[in-house]
Chain length 222, copies 2
């Protein structure tokens, strides 16, 4: 009984969210802004990926970062240290970002002077997959220590993402992580999924990620 009620509620929330997300997407398109929704488990390396990207690309493009956190603003502070403007969304308990929150955050960003917005979603491999934020693309980060079986257990996240960043590849040599198994499981769920292997520690793959991002930014401009 409880389960059925939960599902009805979820449908209504998702439908309201969807309308607002469409509005946001339209606004971004009019301004030629590319927005990336970055999702992952806690500690998978979302913030490191963002910081490393800013260091490599902030001279070339105008960035803004939206940081979602349940509590704290340590990540927004890290972004600000790079000289890039960050909007902190403190959800105070909510386990995902939604379109109304992004709408609020966008009020603090001058879209006409922005090329690209990176959203760091709440650390959660489940709920954020359900919520359209009006982003241009969705990326998920999966770190090697989390294991190669995650596509079996959290299939929705793999299905809705455009890009899978496999992070912390420097741990590969100490781990029984099977990259080929992950790749096969992911592509079975989502044949269009692009995969990039990275390590913020060794620098592996960060250029590949930046190249992917650059192509997307340029495509959004036209």
């Amino acid at each position: 009984m409880d389960k059925v009620r939960l599902i009805d509620i979820k449908k209504t929330i998702l439908s309201d969210n969807y309308d607002l997300a469409a509005e946001i997407r339209q606004e971004l398109r009019q301004n030629g802004v590319f927005m990336l929704n970055i999702m992952a488990s806690p500690g998978a390396g979302k913030t490191s990926l963002i910081i490393e990207t800013l260091r490599r690309m902030k001279e070339k493009y105008h960035f803004a970062v939206i940081e979602g956190d349940i509590e704290s603003q340590v990540d927004a502070e890290k972004v600000a240290k790079e000289g890039v403007s960050a909007v902190q969304l403190r959800t105070g308990g909510s386990c995902h970002l939604d379109a109304p929150m992004i709408k609020e955050a966008l009020k603090k960003i001058d879209l006409s002077a922005t090329d690209v917005i990176l959203i760091e979603n709440i650390g959660n491999l489940v709920c954020p997959a359900d919520f359209d934020l009006g982003q241009t693309r969705k990326a998920m980060v999966l770190s090697v220590p989390e294991g190669d079986d995650k596509a079996l257990k959290y299939p929705l996240m793999f299905s809705v993402s455009d890009l899978l960043v496999v992070s912390k590849t420097d741990y590969l040599e100490y781990s029984d992580f099977n990259y080929e198994a992950l790749k096969e499981r992911s592509e079975k769920l989502n044949p269009q999924l692009k995969i990039i292997k990275t390590s913020a520690k060794t620098g592996e793959g960060l250029e590949d990620f930046c190249l992917w991002l650059q192509e997307e930014i340029e495509a959004a401009r036209n």
Copy 2:
């Protein structure tokens, strides 16, 4: 507007859940059964902790395991291989277990012939913290690769847990994880929190965890 509605819905759900959890707790007490709710991010090592515990303790106590997963039943199959009965709860999208699901699972477990039930919650450091399952104790697992800052970002999970298992300590030497910083942050949120460091790979701390569990099982019997 949307946010306020969400919160009201959450309150109603949590209040219904709370009543049922109290019922479950009462039933366990009458049967002298200890039930542990194990929560963690995806890939933190919940299943490994359960399997290693079963191997060390299944001859001494009658175990049952409730496996929560959004999809798949790979974990329940691993438990069954150890000769211990497992109930698989497939939530089909829900990001946490709740008391109604546990009530259903308990129908398949003979409480009069059981000493201890281990619940593996959905891999999620956020939502499961909100839901009382009627458990005797709550344990959270945090793996070294997730980082020492998680108490700042996911404070509720640290606040509601009785035990923090720091897993994958074999990664400590390759990582900048600061155990003392984690300890300080965790104890600030929850001075009663007990912390045990473990590695399923090297075996570190598994005996400590089993000792803790044994004391809890014995206390529940009386």
